[in-house]
Point group: D2
Chain length 415, copies 4
Amino acid sequence: MYPYVSFMQNKLKIINDPVHGFIKIPHEILFDVIEHPYFQRLRRISQTGLLNLIFPGATHTRFHHALGAMHLMFTAIETLKLKGVEISKEEEKGALLAILMHDIGHGPFSHALESMLMDDWHHENLSLLLMNRLNEQFNGQLSTAIEMFQGKYHRKFFNQLISSQLDVDRLDYLKRDSFFTGVSEGNVNTQRIISMMNVCEDRELVVDAKGIYSIENFLTARMFMYWQVYYHKTSALAEFILVKILKRAKYLVSQGIILPATENLTYFLYREKGSATDEDVERFTQLDDNDIIQAMKLWQKSEDFILSYWCRCVIQRDLPKTIISSHPFEKEFIDDKIKHTNALFGIDNGHELVHEIKRKLLPYDTEKQPIWLLQKNGEKIKLHESEDQLLSGLMVNKTTRYILTFPRNTNIQEY
Amino acid sequence: MYPYVSFMQNKLKIINDPVHGFIKIPHEILFDVIEHPYFQRLRRISQTGLLNLIFPGATHTRFHHALGAMHLMFTAIETLKLKGVEISKEEEKGALLAILMHDIGHGPFSHALESMLMDDWHHENLSLLLMNRLNEQFNGQLSTAIEMFQGKYHRKFFNQLISSQLDVDRLDYLKRDSFFTGVSEGNVNTQRIISMMNVCEDRELVVDAKGIYSIENFLTARMFMYWQVYYHKTSALAEFILVKILKRAKYLVSQGIILPATENLTYFLYREKGSATDEDVERFTQLDDNDIIQAMKLWQKSEDFILSYWCRCVIQRDLPKTIISSHPFEKEFIDDKIKHTNALFGIDNGHELVHEIKRKLLPYDTEKQPIWLLQKNGEKIKLHESEDQLLSGLMVNKTTRYILTFPRNTNIQEY
Amino acid sequence: MYPYVSFMQNKLKIINDPVHGFIKIPHEILFDVIEHPYFQRLRRISQTGLLNLIFPGATHTRFHHALGAMHLMFTAIETLKLKGVEISKEEEKGALLAILMHDIGHGPFSHALESMLMDDWHHENLSLLLMNRLNEQFNGQLSTAIEMFQGKYHRKFFNQLISSQLDVDRLDYLKRDSFFTGVSEGNVNTQRIISMMNVCEDRELVVDAKGIYSIENFLTARMFMYWQVYYHKTSALAEFILVKILKRAKYLVSQGIILPATENLTYFLYREKGSATDEDVERFTQLDDNDIIQAMKLWQKSEDFILSYWCRCVIQRDLPKTIISSHPFEKEFIDDKIKHTNALFGIDNGHELVHEIKRKLLPYDTEKQPIWLLQKNGEKIKLHESEDQLLSGLMVNKTTRYILTFPRNTNIQEY
Amino acid sequence: MYPYVSFMQNKLKIINDPVHGFIKIPHEILFDVIEHPYFQRLRRISQTGLLNLIFPGATHTRFHHALGAMHLMFTAIETLKLKGVEISKEEEKGALLAILMHDIGHGPFSHALESMLMDDWHHENLSLLLMNRLNEQFNGQLSTAIEMFQGKYHRKFFNQLISSQLDVDRLDYLKRDSFFTGVSEGNVNTQRIISMMNVCEDRELVVDAKGIYSIENFLTARMFMYWQVYYHKTSALAEFILVKILKRAKYLVSQGIILPATENLTYFLYREKGSATDEDVERFTQLDDNDIIQAMKLWQKSEDFILSYWCRCVIQRDLPKTIISSHPFEKEFIDDKIKHTNALFGIDNGHELVHEIKRKLLPYDTEKQPIWLLQKNGEKIKLHESEDQLLSGLMVNKTTRYILTFPRNTNIQEY
């Protein structure tokens, strides 16, 4: 029925994945969720937003990531079973469904746009909301999955596999983003890390002590991916511009200016704050990256200089200048850039084009869901307290970087 | 200036590529062309059309392919130089520019749409037209490249590297499409093939005889990619649907029905046959995949059943059934499917939804640009006439497959 | 207890493998066999003989290959189970043990030496003999494995997985040899091929029809590996020289000449034809590549010119010349080379240094264990009779190549 | 002439390498050195000693590593040239020859054996000694290479590329050892690191500042490789046993006991301390791993319990127990193990079988050849003093681990 999976005799279905090889879909209900339009929408939402402006290979989607994370969950469950952890069919389905749907409420592009579209809504809330809707359509078959997703299921390790400092979500996105960007520094050894997973006292996800270096390697790989890819100054800039564009558009609309856009995007430009209505949800599930790109293509010609400036930056990839520092920039320096910008373009709101963007990262959080090692004597110990650790103890502090963006002199050129 | 390249001291610029590692941009003019909006547009045109419906990883773009092909051209030139073939700076630039721009006239999605939008225009004509426009803007710096592209340059091997049965275009797209689809059967050894390239009599591209198995492997890999990926029955279907949608939309518009679409797409829906005007070209260079996807999203709700049916098929990935055969289908069988379709949907134009799609492939063409081997004695011989060949002589016949598509019973479900 | 495996909680043991990732050892008895000296000996027997003279990376061992094949067997069994084929724990163990031990009787270097050492013994006979010895030591735990290995077990597909045209032995060695030689043309997609395996009528190994191109790709990959690697003219030469050296040594010994060698090798140099005695077996299990290499190092200084010539060829990698042809060489041409050799070295037995080596390959045997496809209608059909096949029907004929070796003029140089 | 290289028209020769793809040999003299018996001997010396007991894939050789390092040197030189650093043909040849020969004096197995065989000789001294001998044979063509190797050449960056904290030797062995062991944590991005190399003031090797994370990733990868692979407790054990075996053998020989061994190894067992004689050198260049393995096979049956015990440990891979700690072991604990060992085997020299092995690592040395970053302003700064560094400043302290080995109860079993 669905030609992108290979229907094998006796029901085993597989999907090609250049990252993990082949992804098996071991239960019918998983397949039913995958074919639902809510999930198919993820095909049109890129995994890494505008990162492809910097890393042209990064055109992969949330759809593929969700499948990949499900694959890793399946591998983790198989490993735990081989180690004697009892996991029922119902639990297996629940865990696979939960991770499959963990991003189902994701909006267009990065997280950054969510608040623009749905105010203070976080995509995990939207995911939950959509999961509940699906659960109705599937007659309650997703209930265990939803419990696990929310952390309400009594065996906590299922939730830890879905969302913690060492969950299959992170394992998949690091490996996948590393693969598609070509930044090999982030290529974590998911196979080995998962083979080292275990469960302690039937509830806590732990890692066999001998896997410590693979875990530390995972933490450093993640840190490098953040600073080299996700928080790369141009990545940070691109994400920032997207938010600025939506903010500006909402502002202009609030001033009575009419902006061309698709019907659904227009709806959200005019939407007032407040809890999500049925129409909100309905329209949200029809929104994807294309609505935003199409809008930016059109708004390049907007009469509002700020809006058209940012849109041209993205569509023509003619990006403003950025400089990065480990200290905040001096107010005088910023003011000077604003003055220069005003002069350059003959405008008086140059401050809209000059910004300090801040990015910070805590490579390893010792407090919130620490990673536990299972020692040979059967006792567990926190990763950074193990005498074998080489780097974990050194990665417990936040790093902050400041990125200043301002127009470059040549930024106004027209072809 | 362009943050996605790493500006190294002394001008060497590199771009990340998961397929080839790193791509160097060795000349300033290459970089200038890359940053031109004509070229940046290729970021929004997928390399393999709707193939990601079948192979979810295949979201890569024409932009990346063009850079990859340029990289292979650079490698080929370096190899030839090491073998004593003299190549001037001007020729090197020309060859790199020509391959960089070879797809610059590519329309949205696959080649299939070109004729819908621009009648009988072929994207190579459009590429040439756009190259000439760019050449004006760059004060004639692209003249040698254009000569090479057209096959007018006196040293023919440059054109053979750009367009022949063993050109760097094919080498890149096979390897790249294999990489992103995860279909490893198409992973050709570009490094080895290029290392075996040579030039005979200062004009003919040849392959050192000892590279014969790599060449045969390349030909079989290509054949497998065609039948397993490009001509996969669902790939063929998806491409076919796209064409049907555009055709139907043009038909409806010609009947006076108004269809929502972006301004530029609308322009082409109404465009009459005829040679390309300046406005045609101007608008064409602003068209990309997003215009088509957006239209399909909107047209799902069209009152025309045929149009809305096809659009829902794509957007919700709820595809009709296909069966494949090495023989044409019987007329009775097809008629029966049409009758069934009419009954299923209560329509009388079911023949619009039932089609036989034909795909044929000649794995190796012995006549048009045959591949030449350079033997130890310095003489050249045609690949399939070498006594060492294992398969080439067997791949000189066309294979044809027939794919019949018709609605499946469940295709009308609504969520 | 065995530090090269990672003992995980609850018994799961894994071994690093750059080819397949990680190899799990799911049963205790497998581990017991691995640690037996008979099996540990395989660490000192290279998988591809002297191929590393041509492909320096090919230093991998029979030990690693046996583990890799066991890993693929495990994957195949898991896949078949997911497709509903019932396989008992006893059968699983049997199949894993059988493939693990399939090469346990392998002698030093390639198959070619076996007949030199043990006359007409084939390594599969020796393997069986050693399996039976092990079975005694392990109290009959290997009985099912031995039945499967011999093809006596009633469910034939287990034997087909161990030894047929599409067995896990071939899958592993092609992928592994491709990996270590760096000849990517042989990199078969084992994961996909195995995912397409199935069982028909509870006894016959079949491949789901949709996997046809992967199977054809496997057959062409194998063919390329033979002509590019195993039957590469220098590979064929190296294997030939090894046999010549042993033959010459046995001849010299039979003439009363004393040759230095390890005790065990000496034993085999003097051994008369006849069925294997206990001492034969005992000594054979202590022989490995090192005995042969050490002998060649010593025999470089032999007073017999022929013996020392061949030994220096290998140890100093100063190989004689080879030419390859698809036709046998003319007798006159060969005689001329012999005359030249006699003159070059001032000897009269130059015919010992001039030889025609013959290699032939049947890429796909339609008669002996043909590959069966399982069609959608549940019926099976032979691969080369399927209407979908692209190349199989073309690979049913033998190809033969003739390689002539003779000394090169510079071959006598001394440093 | 040498069949393992592909002779292409016009002299370009290539060698297959699964790690780097293909290795080009761009100068005739390189090829002449490669074919010399001194260099061919490296084919029989494993790159990582007995590491294949723990990581079965690690059977690669010094020969391949030397070629790989030469390849990286070639890449580095090409990159520097593209950045405008002038490098003459003579210098290029010198640098390539120097790195090609850097390990030519390497003895069998690891560095550990060198002192056993040649007393206080270090393999770099032996390398230099052999280089000088070769230089005579090649009429002084290696003089520049030798100058560079010794650090006497005026442009220091050549020596830094050969031997420093960021030399191509390390880049190759980390990537290669990671590849063959399957420990992906050590897979450094050599291509990117080299593309970031530069030269400052025509003498100092520096790294463009934007490459900082790749350098830090290289340093952490190296650290992980040390603790996970090279200093893995079983690796440390295996290396330790080798030394013990040779030491014991020399002791027994000094006591008048006769041990079977090859003539050359016997020579070194009896050799007295003192500067290297011509015979020493001559015999040394004929020694390789096979001499040692053969001796261990024979010495398994030695009447000396200690010697036979250790030899059986290696050959049968029946290794003693090890425990690891970050603190030295208590004397009482060790004494207890010795007592237990004496009782177990009924011997009185159990202290020979119980040992504390110590391993320490300084991940980054800030003093000796620090790594310099080239900042945008053209000034250089030490890596760990850059404000962008994330980890370097944390890796400046030594880590030490203590490994205690003692026999396991089951260690005496016989098959």
